[in-house]
């Protein structure tokens, strides 16, 4: 009997010995003692770096300070944003126009800062819209989206925008091959015959930043996943990871994962430029595309509809495109600071190949080919590879670089960052991330002069890292110190949407050029009231245009009568303030869109369609002064057939 109890006791004892979490050890915090000090930015102090994270499926862009991880702003891009009227105000609606009509959402993936000579120049940030193929440009003087261009003949715009060394171009590639041209109504199982890939080069004007579709390159119907442009010696080339070389159209999870090697597609865009100049392109008509530009002078966007692009069929022009065999379903492709080495990450592969640009050129010169696809040569893997990083980790996705010759590769499956030496391709350190890292970002880590202080892990899952908020949890990034031999976890911080990819730059690159106000003298909005004297209410049929001003703390006019049920009332609000950080808001009861947030010197317009007679109030929605609560007004709405005359006033009281 005693024996029975004793044995059971031993058993229970053993059960208690279960390892708690043998992978992560005792603590998953992993932050060292001094971490708090290293990320602490005292009240009133400012961060050292700007971090721009894409909002992923939010369609927006998050702006953070580093090292604190404090969120500074959300910049609306592809999605309507009621907070400041983006996509609701009459001026901003055209920014979201596409050939499919007004689209209030997209999936924003890859922010990319503009570069000059391969270095961050602090002018613009580009970001792709995945679902309705588009590229947006954000002006870093105002932190506003100032241009959105739609990409024609494209689908699943994932390998985008990835600018060239001097931001000559940003690119856009098809992650989903689709039928091109006029007859797009084909059977899906005719994929191999009818589906094509297309890589678009979007030119960026050096001065204005204006984008235009320069030319497009027609390619086999593979999935063009991610890209980076060459720099230094490899300037003039772009590289695109390419999977589904199986050309399957169903159950891609399995059917697009069969080959041991897919491709890295190398495009000689300088040659493409030359071919286009020689007129060797085919004109594609087809669907129109939109270019939407924000005009700082009129504080309004204008949509232009365009048709027709110049297309180069890659199989017809030798030397334009080469395929480099690349281990299993490559995802990220990254070019090191010298421009000589190109790292492609086969997400299902056990090794990490490092291609060498000079070897690629040599192989091309020697016709060192291993067959072709529709006339596009496949280079020999052994001839173009500098070497492989052996057993780097599981599920390698993306690589960025520091200033000391090291590369940092994110591992999705093993949820870690692996640091390795680009010259020797030896792994020197690894650190777990929480959890399932996708992209990663070293400030300027994709440029010719990377920094060496931090790497930011952009994670997909947060699970138990934060206070729970129901089924939908926060998204998160992590700040890791890379200044020493060992990487050190410093900070977790929540982000908006999915922090898909990020760019970071020293704060000083942007702070000097910040616009604080829009000079009211330069306001060319057709309905601007530059001073209360210019305010008015005008009727054109059933359209009523109210030119109204705001200044602390009143609207002019603030009493309006003579509006009728069924009118379309346009509130054109001009903010007369000329001091930094004094926006005024405008909200009117029953408005079916949003509020307006009007910056100093700016004019913005809200459309309001009153549905019933009565007196309706409007007010300032952004706390502006001690008398903000007094900043309000009334508008009288009368029946459609009434004779109430149109009048407006400020500070007039009945005798």
């Amino acid at each position: 009997m005693i024996a029975l109890v004793a044995v059971m006791g031993v058993g229970l004892g053993l059960t208690g010995c279960k390892p708690k979490s043998p992978i992560n050890g005792e603590s998953t915090s992993a932050a060292s003692g001094s971490a708090a000090e290293e990320v602490y930015v005292a009240p009133g102090e400012k961060d050292d770096y700007y971090l721009f994270t894409s909002g992923g499926f939010s369609g927006q862009l998050g702006v953070y300070g580093l090292p604190s991880g404090r969120m500074l702003r959300q910049i609306p891009i592809f999605s309507q944003h009621a907070e400041n009227g983006w996509g609701y105000s009459e001026e901003s609606k055209p920014m979201l126009m596409t050939s499919y009509g007004f689209i209030p959402w997209d999936d924003s993936h890859h922010p990319k800062l503009s570069q000059t000579e391969g270095k961050q120049d602090g002018r613009w940030l580009f970001i792709n819209g995945n679902n309705t193929p588009r590229i947006a440009r954000i002006d870093l003087k105002t932190f506003r989206t100032v241009e959105i261009i739609e990409i024609p003949n494209s689908s699943g715009n994932h390998s985008s925008p990835f600018p060239t060394e001097n931001t000559e171009y940003v690119v856009a590639g098809t992650r989903f091959a689709v039928p091109m041209g006029d007859n797009r109504d084909v059977a899906i199982n005719t994929y191999k015959e009818n589906f094509k890939g297309m890589i678009s080069y979007i030119s960026v004007d050096k001065e204005s930043g204006h984008m235009d579709v320069a030319f497009q390159i027609l390619l086999p119907g593979f999935d063009y996943d991610l890209s980076h442009a060459g720099k230094g010696p490899s300037h003039g080339w772009s590289f695109f990871t390419t999977y589904n070389t199986e050309e399957s159209h169903t159950m891609k999870e399995v059917n697009a994962s069969q080959r041991d090697k897919d491709f890295l597609t190398a495009i000689n865009w300088k040659l493409a430029e030359q071919l286009v100049a020689e007129g060797k392109f085919e004109e594609y008509g087809g669907r129109p595309y939109y270019v939407n530009r924000w005009d700082e002078a009129t504080h309004s966007a204008v949509s232009t509809q365009k048709t027709g692009t110049k297309v180069l069929d890659a199989s017809k022009y030798p030397g334009l495109v080469y395929f480099l065999p690349c281990p299993k379903s490559p995802h990220g492709v990254d070019v090191n600071p010298t421009g000589e080495f190109i790292v492609a990450s086969g997400k299902l592969a056990a090794t990490l190949p490092v291609f060498q640009f000079s070897k690629i050129q040599e192989a091309i010169a020697n016709n060192d080919f291993d067959g072709d696809v529709n006339g596009i040569p496949i280079l020999k893997y052994e001839s173009v590879i500098a070497g492989e990083v052996a057993k780097p980790g599981l599920g390698p996705l993306h690589t960025e670089f520091d200033d000391k010759g090291f590369a940092y590769t994110s591992m999705f499956v093993s949820s870690e960052i692996v640091k390795w030496n680009v010259a020797t391709r030896e792994v020197v350190d690894r650190i777990p991330t929480y959890y399932s890292i996708g992209h990663l970002c070293v400030p300027a880590g994709d440029s010719k002069n990377p920094t060496g202080k931090y790497v930011i892990a952009l994670n997909k899952i947060t699970k138990d890292r934060y206070l729970p908020t129901g089924p939908e949890l926060t998204q998160s990034a992590q700040l890791i110190d890379i200044s020493g031999d060992k990487m050190r976890m410093l900070l977790d911080f929540p982000t908006i949407g999915e922090p898909h990819y990020a760019q970071a730059c020293p704060a000083s690159l942007l702070t000097e050029n910040q616009v604080r106000i829009y000079p009211i003298e330069e306001n060319n909005h057709p309905y601007a009231a530059k001073g209360e004297k210019e305010t008015s209410v005008e009727r054109k049929g059933n359209e009523v245009h109210i030119k109204m001003t705001t200044i602390r703390s009143h609207f002019a006019p603030d009493n309006i009568e003579g509006i009728k049920v069924g009118d379309k009332v346009y509130w054109h609000i001009t903010n007369l303030e000329q001091d930094w950080d004094i926006p005024h808001g405008f909200a009117v009861q029953g408005a079916a869109n949003s509020e307006l947030l009007v910056m100093p010197g700016e004019t913005a317009t809200l459309l309001w369609e009153p549905k019933e007679a009565g007196v309706v109030s409007f007010y300032c929605s952004d706390f502006c002064s001690a008398l903000h609560q007094e900043m309000q007004g009334y508008v009288r709405v009368s029946p459609a057939n009434s004779n109430v005359p149109l009048t407006w006033s400020l500070n007039q009281t009945a005798e």
């Binding site: 029975l4 279960k18 043998p22 992978i23 994962s257 499956v413 949820s415 699970k463 138990d464």
Partner: protein
């Protein structure tokens, strides 16, 4: 007396998990657990299936284990036999009881090893992730690292009761055999 009680204790095994397999990965800090009962499986079986299909492992289901249909009857036989041994109380029947228990435990472990070998090696050639020369056989007992997952295999409460019953039988057998022999000497 103890043999009788221990045989009756085996009834509890019907109501408790016998074996537990646990998995951890960085993104699963809380762990994933699969429990094996006499007649069924429970725990995060579907999560495990979801993960393992990437590397081409078979879909785990109860149909995969004909053992689950047989084990409950086998246990009835053991309990009845144990009570019979307690009633007879002779050395011979004690030897037989001990041997039977040990053999059934060894048999079950061999069976489990064979399943684990097949599960870890017999992979779908069309799987998305294929790591050369990699097999994913789970550990029979104890801890093993499989790619990004740490796997831990250990008896659960029911299993420990079974082990305790075996232990009790062995101790009695040892007492009867070795100690008595010494006394004779």
């Amino acid at each position: 007396m103890a043999i009788g009680i221990s045989a009756l204790l085996l009834i509890a095994v019907y109501f408790l998990p016998v074996w537990s397999i646990q998995l951890w990965a960085p993104q699963y800090p809380e762990g994933i657990e699969m429990l094996i009962w006499l007649n069924r499986l429970s725990g995060d079986v579907e999560i495990i299936n979801g993960l393992n299909h990437y590397i081409g492992m078979k879909h785990i289901s109860e149909d995969m284990f004909p053992e689950l249909a047989l084990l409950p009857y086998g246990m009835v036989l053991l309990i009845v036999f144990g009570l019979f041994v307690a009633w007879r109380g002779t050395k011979f029947w004690l030897n037989a009881w001990t041997l039977l228990l040990v053999l059934s435990a060894v048999g079950l472990l061999i069976d489990m090893y064979q399943w684990g070998y097949d599960y870890g090696h017999n992979l779908d050639p069309k799987a998305a992730i294929q790591v050369p020369n990699m097999a994913y056989q789970p550990p029979l007992l104890g801890y093993k690292l499989l790619l990004n997952f740490g796997a831990y295999s250990i008896p659960d409460t029911g299993g420990w009761i079974f082990a305790a019953v075996i232990g009790t039988a062995v101790i009695f057998w040892a007492k009867e055999t070795i100690i008595k022999r010494k006394q004779h000497a």
